[in-house]
Structures are given as structure tokens and as C-alpha cells.
């Protein structure tokens, strides 16, 4: 027998009667023997191929966990540095929608596991429809996510440098609302008044975020007061860096000193005033963004599985891809299970 080109497709096809009840295609390989069509030529046996595939997928998932792990580490560090900022910012996320998404993903894990069971028991209908259900649930997740993002963009919460609240956004009874413009000075930290006085230029910005090394020399300060931040109401594009707003001229444009509790619809809380609140949302967008990307990739993979299961490729003899994609999907779900409480609940 001529030595066939290893890159060619396998030799002649033959239908085998192998006693396993399957009408699968068996092919004649280079060495003159029959082997199942799904067995790749470099593997000695189907068992070896199955075990190798599973090990490979598990290793890949370990790398995925490390990828997200880096982001979780960044989150933990910043949370430790700016706890009140993070708490306040997480209040802006819609917990109901987040919980809904969690439920959706959990359900999709169930359906994908069910689909694997269908393959294992040669039940093509169960396999196919559960795969479809998984895709549908994943789609639901993305749609809900879309609405969440859209709401935030509406309020001006963009990642990174573009972070700002749209002018006039206030918190009314705990809800963020775009509405009439409100201007306020923040009460300064230690009970002093407003920082509406003019300042000379040339001073260093107040250094020392929570957790930073303490200055070894007294920083040139303005008699120990922290600065209040002023948001000029007519300047929607204002995006002051900390350095700027400490030394900023331009005064207060006629704002009144704030008295605590005066009006409900005044801005309150550090996230309206501290541009560093953008850090929370940046981490939020990066993590949920990368997670969303993984959901989309999973959707595509599961759709391909569904299509192929229609053609009868998977059976109790060979369902490795279904199992592996299912594993991937479970990890995507688990990552969300961690994301949700960290971002939304605490």
C-alpha cells in the first residue's frame, strides 16, 4: 500500500458494523486499519484523545482564571485604598439587574450541563434544545448588560478620562437622576468651611490618598484644611484633575456655602466630587467588558455545537467538544458569580 500523504484526508471511507449500535463512519487509516472518523491520526486511541482534550481544556481554563485574577487583584487593592468611594460607587449599579443576570447565567449553566447529559445518553433532541436554550440565556445576559451600560452612559459614566456625571445629575432618594442643575460646595472634611478663597499658585497638590506613604515632611497646606471641590455649573466639560482643582482659580461662581441637610437634591457623597471615582467604574467596565467578551465567544462556540449536533456529530461515543465547551461556560459563569457580589453587593 502506497504511503499516503499525511496531510491528505483519510483514505477510503467504510461503514463499519462495530457492534456499538452506531452508524458512524469508520475510515481506513494509513496503516490499513479502521478507526473512527473522529479519531485524529496522531492519537493512539479514542480514549487517549478524550483524556487529552479534557486536560487541555482544564489547563486553558486555569489561564482564564489567572487573567481575571489579575483584575480581581487590582480591584482589591483599590478597594482597600478608597473604601468609601467604592461603596458609594457600587450603589450606582443596579443590583436588581445584576441579580437577574446572575440567575440567567446560573440557569444557562444548568442547560449546558443538561445538554452534555443529552449527548451522553444519545438524546439528540435534549442536546440540541438545551444548547439553544443556553445561547438564548446568554443572549439575555448580554441584553440586560446592554441596558445597564446604556443607563450609565446616559448619566455620563464613561470609563477612564471621560468619566463625569452629566451636568445636573443628582441623587434623588437614592436614585441617580438627570435633572435640574444643582450646585453645591462640599462640606470640608474636618469641619472647616468652604474653600472659596483665592489661593496663590505654586502650591503642591494635597498628596496622600488613603494608603499612600505618609509624607515625611509637612506638605505645604492651607492651614490644615482639605480642599473642597467646586464644580462650575456652566462647564459641562469640566474634568478637573486633583492638582487642578486644588489650585484652581475661577472661584465658585456665586455658590453659597452649604448647610448640611438643606436640600435633598444636592449632590452628596464622594463620587460626585472626587474624580478618582472613575477608578471604580474603570475597573467595572474592564472586568465586565472582558467578561462580556467571553460570554460572546461562548455563545458563538455553543451555536456551532448546536449546528453540528443537528448533523449528528455528537453521540455517547464522542461528545468531547460538548463537554469542553460546557466546562468553559461553567468557568465564565463562576467568574460572574465572583464579579456580582464584589461589584454590586458590597
Amino acid at each position: 500500500m502506497a504511503h499516503p500523504n499525511p496531510e491528505d484526508s483519510h483514505g477510503d471511507a467504510a461503514h463499519g458494523a462495530h457492534g456499538d449500535g452506531h452508524d458512524d463512519l469508520y475510515l481506513v487509516g494509513h496503516d490499513g486499519q479502521l478507526h473512527p472518523a473522529y479519531l485524529q491520526h496522531h492519537f493512539v486511541s479514542a480514549q487517549q484523545q478524550f483524556e487529552a482534550s479534557k486536560l487541555g481544556m482544564w489547563l486553558f481554563l486555569v489561564t482564564e482564571i489567572l487573567l481575571f485574577g489579575g483584575m480581581f487583584v487590582a480591584y482589591s487593592i483599590y478597594r482597600a485604598w478608597y473604601p468609601s468611594l467604592f461603596e458609594d460607587a457600587s450603589l450606582q449599579l443596579n443590583t436588581t439587574l445584576g441579580a437577574l443576570n446572575t440567575l440567567v447565567l446560573l440557569l444557562s449553566s444548568l442547560t449546558v450541563a443538561w445538554a452534555i447529559r443529552g449527548a451522553q445518553t444519545d438524546n439528540r433532541r435534549v442536546l440540541f434544545w438545551n444548547l439553544i436554550a443556553t445561547v438564548a440565556l446568554a443572549g439575555t445576559f448580554m441584553v440586560v448588560k446592554y441596558f445597564e451600560y446604556e443607563h450609565k452612559f446616559h448619566l455620563g459614566i464613561f470609563p477612564g478620562q471621560s468619566f463625569e456625571y452629566a451636568p445636573g445629575t443628582t441623587r434623588v432618594n437614592g436614585e441617580l437622576v438627570e435633572g435640574t442643575r444643582a450646585v453645591a460646595l462640599l462640606p470640608a472634611e474636618e469641619g472647616a468651611e468652604h474653600g472659596a478663597e483665592g489661593r496663590d499658585g505654586g502650591h503642591e497638590p494635597t498628596v496622600g490618598a488613603v494608603g499612600q506613604l505618609q509624607p515625611a515632611v509637612p506638605v505645604e497646606s492651607h492651614d490644615g484644611r482639605t480642599e473642597a471641590i467646586v464644580l462650575p455649573p456652566d462647564d459641562p466639560g469640566a474634568n478637573l484633575s486633583p492638582a487642578e482643582h486644588v489650585t484652581g482659580e475661577g472661584g465658585t461662581l456665586g455658590a453659597e456655602p452649604h448647610e448640611a441637610g438643606e436640600e435633598h437634591n444636592e449632590r452628596e457623597g464622594p463620587i460626585f466630587s472626587d474624580p478618582r471615582a472613575g477608578v471604580f467604574f474603570s475597573i467595572y467596565y474592564v472586568m465586565t467588558g472582558i467578561h462580556g467578551l467571553h460570554v460572546i465567544i461562548g455563545m458563538i462556540a455553543i451555536s456551532i455545537l448546536a449546528y453540528r449536533s443537528r448533523k449528528g456529530v455528537y453521540s455517547s461515543v464522542y461528545y468531547t467538544p460538548v463537554e469542553n465547551v460546557g466546562l468553559y461556560w461553567h468557568v465564565v459563569d463562576i467568574i460572574w458569580i465572583f464579579l456580582f457580589p464584589l461589584m454590586y453587593l458590597i
Binding site: G202, V207, Q212, L213, Q214, P215, A216, V217
Partner: protein
Amino acid sequence: MYERTRFWEEGASFLLPPQGSTTAHEIDAVFWFITIASTILTILVTIAMVYFIVKYRRKSHADRPVLVHESKWLEVSWIVIPTLLVLVVFFWGFRAYVSTSIPPDDAYEISVKGQKWLWTFEYPNGFVSSGEVVVPVGQPIRFTMTSQDVLHSFFVPEFRIKNDVIPNRYSTVWFEAPREGIYQVVCTEYCGKDHSHMGAHIRVVSRSEFNDYLRNPPGANLPPAEIGAQVWETSGCRACHSIDGSTSTGPSWQGDWGAARPGSTQGTVNDEYIHQSILEPGAYITPGFQNVMPSFQGVLTDAQVNGVAAYIRVLNGAATAADTTMAEEAPETGAVPGAGPADPSQPAGLETGN
């Protein structure tokens, strides 16, 4: 221009610079121990290699492998002995690290700012100098450092001190120099174009000289043009501006006076233009150059800024009489625009007898 002349004295060797600080010898001791131990180890390995190569050289391709019994004791010994050596080195290094990184309580504090591409030093009384810092001999000095832009690192090879200089944070180094002299500072964290030209000098002088220095900072009793020359030399200007006409990061001061500056408010290089260039360099960029000059607001005194203008005039042959004669009144001591007067409650120098 400072040229190091000490090469072989004060603990220096082929491998190490002179020991300019009181703690350098501790670090050098660990260094030498590891170096010598490592050299011995390398030599032993090499000898073993050469011996085996010679003794067991292949005689013919029919050489059959000889059975060698693996000795557990040999394996154990070359695990245990290096481990012990390594632990000794670790503890010694750790102790030296602890003792050399904690500044004494009576350290005299100077605040240091690193920026692209120069170092600025601020004394407790408010006096600021850049490019050079003068400190008294035999007195622990602590530098508290921060960066104005990117990461830098403050390294004095002869003192064996180093620490990164980070924006929005403070880091410290300390030293006590037992001998007078000039010591080189270099930046050791890559920071861009002129990273290799970001040196500074530490001038160690006697206490009385130091006290005089603080009371009468340089340039106090000099003609403006000489003050300007000094500023060029020691305040970082020379890193980017030449005085011989050659183009560098910034325009050369030679040929500059009266040169046209199209588009600027002043139109040509005059006094006002020079003042603005020093205090607000970003306001106008000479065509053909980049906007990389840092501002010297708060860094140079009025006298120094005037001196630069005078010096430029001298370089261009346009000097006036006022440029080259001493001012009638002594300028304000330590005055830095915008910083307020030097705080009189702070000692201008060190008490003698400290």
C-alpha cells in the same frame, strides 16, 4: 565641571568607588564577602570541569559507559553547603540593610524633587537650589524625595544610597559624609530623553561654611552675569542649552539675544521674553523645538533670573554695565518668588555644637 579624582583611596578599588559615607563600608563588606565566595565557587567548578575533561577524555568510540554509583552524601552535601552559605549571606545582607536604611533621629532634612531632567533641593528655611546641594560634613542628612512627573531614582554611588523617586509619594535616603568633597548624583530610573544628563552634585563642606552658605546663597555678592553663569552651570540649564551655539534640546544661548521669535508676545528675545521662558516655558515654544522645558517658578530667585538674562547678553556681546558690576543692595536672602519670605523662626543653618 566636577571630575572625580578619588579612585584608589578611601576604600575604593577596581570594583567599587570610594566610600563617601559612614555606612558604605557595611555594604562593601557584604559585597566583598559574596564576591570572594562566588569567585572561589566559580574557580572550583571550573577546575573540576577541566580536570574531568582532561582525565576522562574519550579515547575511542568503543568506550563503554562505566557504572557510577550515585552517592547520596555527595548530593546532600552540595545542597546543604550552598544553602548554609546562602543563609549566611542573606542574614548579613539583611542586617546591613536594616542598619543602613534607618536614618538617625537627628538627621537634617532636605526636600528633594526630581523632574525631567533635573534635581531640585529645598532646605528647611525655604531656600531652593537646583543641580547642586550643599551639606555639612559629619552630619546625618535625610533627603525626602518626590517626583514631579515620571519615575526617577536618586543614586549616589559613593554613598551607596539609592531610592526610586515616585510621583505623589515620598521616599527617603539618608547619609552622613565624614569627608568634605563633591559627590556625584545620578538618576537610575529611565525617565526619557535626558535621563543620562540628570546628574547633580552633593557638596560636602564644613559646618561654618554651610551656615554661611545658607545665610548667603550663591550669587548674593556677584555681578548679575556671573550669577547667570553659575545658574547655567549648576541649575540644570546646561543640560538643554548650550553656550557655544550648538543646538541641543533647547535653543543655544549663544546668538540668542535679540533673535526673532515670530508669534511670541515679545517678538524678539528680550528681558521679558527670557523671564517668561524661565517661569512659564510653555507659553511660547520656539519653532523647531519641543515643549519639554520645566518651569523654574519657585526654583530660581529673581536675582538668578535677572542673572540669566545678563549672562545671555554677555554671551552675545550685548552686555551693559549693570550686567557686569555688583548690585548696589544685597538681594533678599533665600527669597524665592511665590514662596513667601524664609521663615525667620527656622534656623538658617545648623547650630554649632550639634
